[in-house]
């Protein structure tokens, strides 16, 4: 199709719109850039994602009198409930020394991945108002969701260290590795969030399935039991122990608890899952970049 530019000097022929646009240095609106360009864009707007994440984490505690105090109170109350129920009322050990600490680490860190997944999945469709007003690489939305979850995890980690100390674990050098473990887990969560965000924005129904996935993950990841103790070392047990969420829980427990010893292979699995998920998530999300504004 040709367009006529009334003001342009008559050139004896009409050119196509694309030629006219190219001649005047115009670019296609909303076009998906190359992957490297896209990543550069994401990087250059990182402050937007950080600021959005901070704002979201902040806003989640905003509508109450105690306000930001809830950032610390919430994990303390959860820890209190678990310590009370499993330390005093039920008093099981399920084949684990220091079951209370084992459980609290499991619950807090599992929550991090499961909320990254569920909030990440709806990160694009929940932010339609931003998406339909401002042009920015959409990958920033799932990324900022995971950052926000990371920010809510930080006070919980402080509470966690308190629980670990309270239950009689001595401080150890391996505690210093915890940030690395959490970082790997965040990278994995980012991959998950990117991947599911695109699926949900294309087929809304996927969002209805996410809660079942997270619940199933909870039961197979050894949040409140030791996989080895229940499923045994071979076959199924090995498969369960090497799935990503179980790997990250194992990693965090290994860093904090005396009774659990980490091997290099756990670190390798953790790194592999993180990088693999991120790579797949980024490429898959970038591929759908042009479709996100469509309601």
């Amino acid at each position: 199709m040709t367009v006529t530019d009334h003001r342009a000097p008559a050139e004896g022929r009409s050119e196509t719109a694309a030629e006219l646009a190219a001649r005047h240095g115009l670019t296609r609106s909303g076009a998906r850039p190359s992957l490297s360009r896209y990543l550069a864009d994401v990087w250059s707007r990182r402050h937007f994602a950080i600021s959005l994440a901070g704002a979201r984490a902040y806003a989640s505690n905003q509508v109450s009198y105690l306000g930001q105090l809830w950032a610390v109170l919430t994990p303390m109350l959860w820890a209190g409930v678990y310590l009370f129920v499993f330390g005093h009322v039920l008093d099981t050990s399920r084949g684990v020394d220091n079951f209370a600490a084992f459980l609290v680490i499991g619950v807090f860190l599992f929550r991090f991945t499961s909320t990254s997944l569920s909030a990440g999945a709806s990160s694009v469709i929940r932010n339609q108002s931003l998406v339909s007003t401002l042009r920015f690489p959409r990958a920033l939305l799932p990324v900022s969701v995971v950052l926000a979850e990371l920010l809510t995890l930080l006070p919980a980690l402080v509470v966690l260290l308190g629980v670990v100390l309270l239950t009689g674990e001595p401080p150890a050098w391996s505690w210093l590795l915890l940030p690395v473990a959490v970082l790997l887990q965040s990278v994995f969560g980012t991959g998950l969030a990117l991947g599911t965000a695109r699926m949900v924005s294309q087929v809304r129904d996927v969002a209805n399935i996410v809660p079942f996935v997270t619940r199933a993950l909870m039961y197979v990841s050894g949040v409140f039991f030791s996989i080895e103790h229940y499923a045994g070392p071979g076959g199924l047990g090995a498969a369960l122990a090497h799935q990503p969420v179980a790997v990250y829980l194992e990693l965090a427990r290994g860093c904090l608890l005396q009774g659990i010893h980490l091997t290099a292979s756990t670190w390798l699995w953790a790194t592999g899952w993180a990088l693999g998920a991120l790579l797949v998530g980024v490429v898959w999300f970038w591929n759908g970049e042009e479709g996100y504004g469509r309601d």
Partner: protein, 260 residues
């Protein structure tokens, strides 16, 4: 923000046979007469419909032009602007624009539960400013919005005019090559309308292009030298303000022949 090498005369927006359709969830139109009962199930399960909002629009806008867009409700004006901004993907056809067009819309609340200040920072960062640039321009944006210490309250506490002011201030913080204004001035008071008109003139004076959607013919006549008339997704007329506005007003006066 002007990129090096971008020409400051000539076309700034080229729209070529643009089609945009939306997908809607949770309801279907049952158009066949008398078939209402038979198709009730489809209105609850797999109730996904398509709305063709823009069907085959072409035009070229130039640097330094301010163009009005008029038409009935639902004629596709907002959709056209969103497509120019690259916010909704065209289902076919092409949209080319200089730089990154900045859209200023009615529904475009940034993040409701956050304070005006936070929204200013977020909006400016999303527009591509660096944190230092945001810090430099922050006061100017707050001044221009002119909503006093309400900037510290969450935007959910704002009146519609107040949030319109804030959004306008954010969107025009950078001097975009192409500014798209969708009824954003409608809820402002006289003083704000005056100021925003000046700001628009400034942008046009800097060889920017402004596309302005409005239902107020006086706003269109005061701000625009060219008008696009959208009608049910097609571009019905494109020409000098006086002619198009006159034709539009005439068609509004005889609604029977014009509405479906």
């Amino acid at each position: 923000m002007t990129e090096q090498g971008t020409e400051r005369t000539g076309p700034s927006v080229v729209v070529d046979d643009l089609h945009v359709s939306y997908r809607t969830y949770g309801g279907r139109r049952t158009t066949e007469p008398g078939s209402g009962r038979r198709f009730t199930l489809r209105r609850h399960v797999a109730a996904v419909d398509r709305v063709h909002a823009v069907t085959g629009v072409s035009f070229v806008a130039h640097h330094g032009e301010s163009i009005g867009v008029i038409g009935h409700n639902g004629s596709g004006k907002s959709t056209l602007l969103r497509a120019v901004a690259g916010l909704v993907p065209p289902s076919s056809g092409g949209v080319y624009a200089a730089g990154t067009p900045s859209l200023l819309g009615v529904g475009g609340v940034l993040v409701k539960e956050l304070s005006g200040e936070r929204n200013i920072v977020l909006g400016s960062l999303a527009l591509g400013l660096s944190p230092t640039e945001v810090r430099e321009r922050f006061d100017a944006i707050v001044d221009f919005a002119g909503i006093g210490d309400f900037v510290q309250l969450p935007m959910s506490a704002y009146s519609s005019g107040m949030s319109a002011r804030l959004r306008f201030a954010i969107s025009t913080a950078t001097s975009p090559d192409v500014l798209l204004v969708d009824e954003a001035l409608a809820t402002g008071d006289a003083e704000f309308k005056q100021r925003s008109r000046e700001r628009i003139r400034e942008i046009v004076g800097n060889a920017g292009t402004v596309l302005l959607v409005s239902h107020s013919m006086s706003t269109i006549q005061q701000t625009c030298d060219r008008v696009l008339w959208m009608d049910r997704g097609v571009l019905r007329m494109d020409g000098p303000t006086d002619e198009v506005v006159a034709a539009y007003s005439e068609s509004v006066a005889q609604p029977d022949q014009e509405r479906r």
